[in-house]
C-alpha cells in the first residue's frame, strides 16, 4: 500500500440506487459518500452527466463490546438502497453488527421571521415583542441532510456479510456467518430468524454463510451461498425457519482433482440474482459462474477470472490473499458480467459473444475522457510489450467492489481508496 493511504479511506462497498442517479460508497472508517449524477444540460448534449458529491456522513462508529471482549469495526460492509417512494432517499448501511436505515433529504427553503427568536436563533425578550407576524419560507442554498431513521442492533452474534431489501419493500434480511434474520423496516427491536446453520457442537462446524440475497421479484424467495461453494434457495412460504432448502446448487467435483486448496478456492464470496430473476451468479476465488434456477446440478456458464493464479496458490495462502472476497455484478440487461481482480484489474464477460476483456483502474493508465486500453496477463514464455507477467502483479491492489448502473453502461470501480467511474464511449 502506498504511504499516505489512510486505512479509513479504503472503500468497502459501492452501490448505485435503482435509477442510477445516485452512487453510494462506504469505507473502512464507517463513512458513506453519495454521488449524484448531474442533469444533462441542453448546452452539452453530447456530454453525459457526471457524478458529483451529493452528501457524506458518518454512518457507523467503532465500538468495543466489553462483555464479549470484541472490537467492532466501523467498516461499512454493505449498502443497499431502497426504491424511492417520495422526495427523500433511503438506504441501509451495515457494519459487522448493526444495520442502520438512513434518510437523505434536501432542504432548499428556510423559515424566516419567527416571533420568539431572532434570525440567529436566540430567544427574544418577550417584552420587546409588540407585533405578531407569520414566518415565511424563503429559498436558501441547497442543503442535503442525512439522518439515521432506524437502528437495527443486537441481532447478530457473528459478522454481518450481507443485507438485501425484499421486493415487498417492507422487509429486508441481514445475514451473518451462521444466521439470517428477517426484519420489518418499521420494527427495530425484533427480527425473525429464518436461517440458522449453527451446529449444536461448534466443533462440528464445516461451513459458513458467505452471502445472501432476495429474489428481485418473488418476495418469498432468497438464496444464500456457503464457504463450501454451494448455494441454497429457500422459500419462506415453506416454513418459518428455512433450514431446509427448496433448491440446492452444487457443481460436482472430480475427486482426483482435489487438493488442499480446493475447498478454500471454492468458497463463494458473492451471489447475485440477475435482473430477470432467472439466473444467479456466484463468485469464487478463481471463477464467476452463472446458474439457471431451474438446474441445480451444475452452472450453465463458467468464466475464468484469473486462472493463472492456480500456480501461485501457495504464496496466496501465505499472504492471505486466497481469502479475498471479490464481488460480481450484472449489467442492466444481464448480458455482461463484471468482477475485479488484482493489480487494479477488473474483468468483463459478455455472455452472448463469449468475449471477455481485462481493464485497469489506475491513475497512471487513464486520463479523463481517455478510452481504457485492454490489458493482458502473460502466463509464461515470451512476454509482449504491453503484457504484464504474473509475477509482476501487485496483490495489494485488489478490486473487490464494483457496481453497474441499472440501465446504462456506466460502471463504478473501487480501487483501494480511489473510486473510478467509467462510461461508455459516446460516438
Amino acid at each position: 500500500m502506498e504511504t499516505g493511504t489512510t486505512e479509513a479511506d479504503i472503500i468497502s462497498t459501492v452501490e448505485f440506487n435503482h435509477t442510477g442517479e445516485l452512487l453510494a460508497t462506504g469505507d473502512k472508517g464507517g463513512r458513506v459518500v453519495i454521488f449524484q449524477r448531474e442533469q444533462e444540460s441542453k448546452n452539452q448534449v453530447h456530454r453525459r452527466g457526471e457524478y458529483n458529491v451529493y452528501s457524506t456522513f458518518q454512518s457507523h462508529e467503532p465500538e468495543f463490546d466489553y462483555l464479549k471482549s470484541l472490537e467492532i469495526e466501523e467498516k461499512i460492509n454493505k449498502i443497499r438502497w431502497l426504491p424511492q417512494q417520495n422526495a427523500a432517499y433511503f438506504l441501509l448501511s451495515t457494519n459487522d453488527k448493526t444495520v442502520k436505515l438512513w434518510k437523505v433529504s434536501e432542504r432548499d427553503k428556510r423559515p424566516e421571521g419567527y416571533n420568539l427568536k431572532d434570525e440567529e436563533g436566540r430567544l427574544r425578550d418577550p417584552a420587546t415583542i409588540t407585533t405578531l407576524r407569520v414566518p415565511v419560507l424563503r429559498p436558501m442554498d441547497l442543503m442535503v441532510e442525512a439522518t439515521p431513521r432506524r437502528v437495527f442492533a443486537n441481532a447478530h452474534t457473528y459478522h454481518i456479510n450481507s443485507i438485501s431489501v425484499n421486493s415487498d419493500y417492507e422487509t429486508y434480511m441481514s445475514a451473518d456467518d451462521l444466521r439470517i434474520n428477517l426484519w420489518n423496516f418499521e420494527i427495530t427491536n425484533q427480527s425473525f430468524n429464518i436461517v440458522d446453520i449453527k451446529p449444536a457442537n461448534m466443533e462440528e462446524l464445516t461451513e459458513v454463510i458467505t452471502a445472501a440475497e432476495f429474489h428481485p421479484h418473488h418476495c418469498n424467495t432468497f438464496v444464500y451461498s456457503s464457504s463450501k461453494g454451494t448455494i441454497r434457495l429457500c422459500d419462506m412460504r415453506a416454513s418459518a425457519l428455512c433450514d431446509r432448502h427448496t433448491k440446492f446448487f452444487e457443481e460436482p467435483e472430480d475427486p482426483s482433482n482435489r487438493s488442499f486448496f480446493s475447498e478454500i478456492i471454492s468458497s463463494i464470496s458473492d451471489v447475485k440474482f440477475s435482473h430477470s430473476g432467472r439466473y444467479i451468479m456466484t463468485r469464487d476465488y478463481l471463477t464467476v459462474k452463472v446458474w439457471d434456477l431451474n438446474m441445480e446440478n451444475r452452472p450453465i456458464e463458467t468464466y475464468q477470472v484469473h486462472d493463472y493464479l492456480r500456480s501461485k496458490l501457495c504464496s496466496l495462502y501465505e499472504n492471505d490473499c486466497i481469502f479475498d472476497k471479490f464481488e460480481c455484478v450484472w449489467n442492466g440487461s444481464d448480458s455482461v458480467i463484471m468482477t475485479g481482480s488484482y493489480n487494479n484489474f477488473f474483468r468483463m464477460f459478455d455472455r452472448n459473444t463469449k468475449r471477455d476483456v481485462t481493464l485497469e483502474a489506475s491513475r497512471e493508465n487513464s486520463k479523463p475522457r481517455a478510452i481504457l486500453k485492454p490489458r493482458k496477463v502473460c502466463v509464461g514464455g515470451k512476454r509482449r510489450k504491453d503484457e504484464i507477467s504474473v509475477d509482476s502483479l501487485d496483490f495489494s491492489k485488489k478490486i473487490l467492489h464494483t457496481a453497474w448502473h441499472p440501465s446504462e453502461n456506466i460502471i463504478a470501480v473501487a480501487a483501494t481508496n480511489n473510486l473510478y467511474i467509467f462510461q461508455d464511449k459516446v460516438n
Partner: protein, 121 residues
Amino acid sequence: MSQKQEEENPAEETGEEKQDTQEKEGMLPERAEEAKLKAKYPSLGQKPGGSDFLMKRLQKGQKYFDSGDYNMAKAKMKNKQLPSAGPDKNLVTGDHIPTPQDLPQRKSSLVTSKLAGGQVE
C-alpha cells in the same frame, strides 16, 4: 490456523516438488502448490476447510480486556502523576494487557472522507 513454523528443508522440498510437478503439472498446478505448502509447513492439518479455520474466521475482532487489570493500570497511572519518559522498570504483568486506551488509536471519525472533498476526475 496452525503455527507457521519455518521448517524448510530445501533439498527435500525441491526433490518432492519436482516429482510432483512432473507428474501433475500438465493437469494440476494446484497439487504442486500444495506440495510446496506442505513442505514449508509440515504441521499443517489435513482438513483445510475444517472447523479450525472457520473458528478463526468467526472470532475476528477478539481483543482481550480485563476490567481488573484496566482499573489497576488506571490507579497506577494516577499514583505516578508524572510524565514518564521511558518504560517503567518495575512494570507488573497487569500493565501489559491492553487496556481500551492502548488499543490501536483510531483516526477521529469526524474527519471527512477524501472522496467527499475531492474533485471528480
